[in-house]
Symmetry: C2
């Protein structure tokens, strides 16, 4: 097998929130895709395995991107003067409509897949569009990308332009079932489907109930958006007056973590009651700080969620976020937590680098199982960074080097090797 | 002369705040370093001039960085878990101490100058350290960099480790006068000195008075820091109880725009009275959003300052900011203005892309005179961007392309030509 080997380097990971461990000149071992731990010397039982010597380079777990919209890469970094609902109408919906054309989807998704492949991301939870065939094209490309991903065909049957709506709940459910069959036929190894109601605004109760049934039946995870923007939340209140809070509208339909794993993007404005339900149901929060700035949504109270014991990971939320770089998201999560402390709640301690690093690795990675650190038994996801071009004085300690690698965004040029679930990706860097 | 030529391309600039003009397939003319305006066709009097044909590329004014610390590039992106005063003690002061060694300064400033040269920045207002010789080395390098800059030898005589203090106000003033003589002897064309009290905390009244006298005598501009962080402001209150507000401590010593141009970094927490004095004295504000996030300072109320008619430009504030990219600062200024609106003052309209673009060009550029647009009579500062690698669908309008160039940070790889005051820089890109 290709995926038994030893990797040597400056190994950095966070086995728990904020506990950054750095092992200089250390070894980690991958056996059939599973990590055997970190060692100062190669244990006898692994001697003879292929040695990948990256002495001096930083070795970190792959990044997990818990929330990204593949079709939105095509208009990334434009239309940023809008807020959420007008941004959807003016940018997102017209752009997503292009994906009814599979030729367009092939070209645009190829660009997206190439970007993801060359990023530090090894795991991603991805939105497609409502289009079944195009979403299968996306999955084909992700399967080849080297990443391990969950990809959703989006469902929506109301409150969007008619060109982007499924005709009704039944036919949407039928199309989704057909999509799931076709996925199964393709026998992907690294690419799995995820049930994806866009958000309550664009999904009728009937549609959400159908999706809840499918998720339960097929034991599939669920992704959606939650409590992102005040106008959005107000609209949900009108649409679902029987729900106690926004997230309750999902929960009533079996789409909120009770029966299958669930990740909700944003949670900027969750009420106390919603936060408690999130925790009680084991729902993951995908924290997307760039998006929340760009769409003027606000700042999610991540410190509070962590203190409550809620699972939190990071999301780039392309295209409301303007880069696929989770490195950037790590620094942005720290930055906005500092502003939150300064402007909203002086008692909410800012995130440290080590904490944000954890969110990007084990925090979000655990949505995929044992993923995101080099502890024994974890799936082997690793990124090797050459930061030598940025070693300005030659005397930096490894912790400073690691922090700088994130702040300077050396994932754009400094990734030299990348492994996801033990398999190495061939890289092309900028 | 080398600096008479025609430049053809997609010419973008903001002659006034928020008024973005894009001229497709247009021409701009540089005569002896001065811009003749933008033309749809080359006017007869300029025919025969050398034509630089960048058809299809984006042509923008050079960026002005109104606040950057050259010595801090050496530890950029590290120690980011600190707030201002502890960050100074733990990171900045020990690092700046290295510059007493001119060999170190030569090596470290060479890296900085190379970064600046390859950035989109054509104008910068720069802090050195207290060290006269090292600051001259920095100026030598900046003179060769192609940028037009103002560089300050820093003054400080209190409240810092003794290794980084000048012994007293008189000797500091003497050393500064000597520095200014030596600068004059070097006959720089593009590099001028700027009086640089670090901030009130580290400058005694006596020192500030000396500096005020020198600034008036030599007709030199002034740079410093103002109202960045609550702890800092509290400390200034104790140190200067006779001042009505932080900025008044500068004003009492002739260092606040009355007698010579003045730029103050940050102004995150300026009182109403301070803001009025800033406006009345014509003081420039260098808005440094990344720094203000990284050091948990807060968000400067830029919309208010603009509405008051205050001059505002952007600063990267390396090393509290973690990149020399003013492109990035443009997007961050927009992002934090959105958070300010959401979290602090719903009445404060967020900055648009066109407004933030203006701040980075004419807004800050005007500190250097007629700089920052392609209007007739402006000094000719231009950057040409090749964004073809990012044209995803091939059908983007130029305004979207421009916005995306900033959000995607194509200044890292896409700058193909750069001119400052009419002189072209030879570039090396990542």
């Amino acid at each position: 097998m290709n995926n038994c080997f030893i990797l040597k380097g400056t190994i950095c990971h966070t086995p728990s929130l904020g506990r950054l461990e750095i092992h200089e000149n250390a070894y980690t071992v991958c056996m059939d895709g599973i990590c055997e731990g970190i060692f100062d010397e190669v244990p006898p039982e692994f001697r003879g395995l292929r040695m990948i010597d990256c002495t001096g380079d930083l070795v970190i777990p792959g990044m997990t991107d818990l929330h990204i919209h593949a079709p939105q890469y095509s208009y990334i970094g434009t239309g940023m003067d809008y807020e959420l609902l007008e941004w959807l109408d003016n940018r997102t919906f017209p752009a997503e409509n292009c994906y009814r054309d599979t030729k367009y989807a092939e070209a645009a998704y190829a660009v997206f897949a190439e970007k993801m492949k060359n990023s530090a991301t090894t795991r991603a939870v991805i939105f497609g569009t409502i289009h079944r065939e195009s979403t299968l094209i996306l999955m084909d490309l992700m399967e080849k990308s080297g990443l391990v991903t969950l990809v959703g065909k989006v469902n929506m049957d109301r409150n969007a332009p008619s060109y982007l709506l499924e005709p009704d709940a039944e036919s949407a459910a039928e199309d989704t079932r057909r999509f799931l069959c076709e996925v199964q036929e393709r026998r992907y190894v690294r690419t799995k489907p995820i049930i994806t109601p866009r958000f309550v605004i664009s999904c009728s109760d009937a549609l959400m109930e159908e999706l809840g049934t499918i998720a339960a039946e097929k034991k599939l995870p669920v992704q959606s958006h939650l409590s992102e923007n005040p106008d959005e939340i107000e609209f949900v209140k009108q649409l679902s007056p029987e729900s106690r809070f926004y997230g309750d509208a999902y929960d009533r339909c079996g789409l909120f973590g009770r029966q299958s794993p669930c990740v909700m993007a944003h949670c900027v404005h969750s009420t106390e009651e919603e936060a408690q339900r999130i925790r009680d149901n084991g729902v993951y929060i995908a924290h997307c700080p760039a998006s929340n700035m760009n769409l003027a949504s606000g700042i999610a109270p991540i410190r509070k969620y962590l203190d409550m014991g809620i699972h939190v990971g990071l999301g780039t939320d392309v295209g409301a976020g303007h880069t696929v770089s989770v490195f950037r998201t790590v620094t942005e999560a720290i930055q906005v937590s500092k502003l939150y402390k300064r402007l909203v709640d002086p008692g909410a301690k800012a995130l440290t680098f080590a904490e944000s690093f954890y969110l990007a690795t084990k925090g979000g990675g655990s949505f995929f199982g044992r993923v995101g650190s080099f502890e024994k038994g974890c799936e082997f996801d690793a990124v090797v960074l050459d930061d030598s071009r940025e070693l300005l004085c030659g005397s930096e300690d490894s912790e400073s080097r690691l922090e700088r690698a994130f702040y300077l965004g050396i994932d754009r040029t400094g990734i030299i090797r990348k492994f996801a679930a033990g398999i190495e990706t061939e890289l092309y860097n900028e």
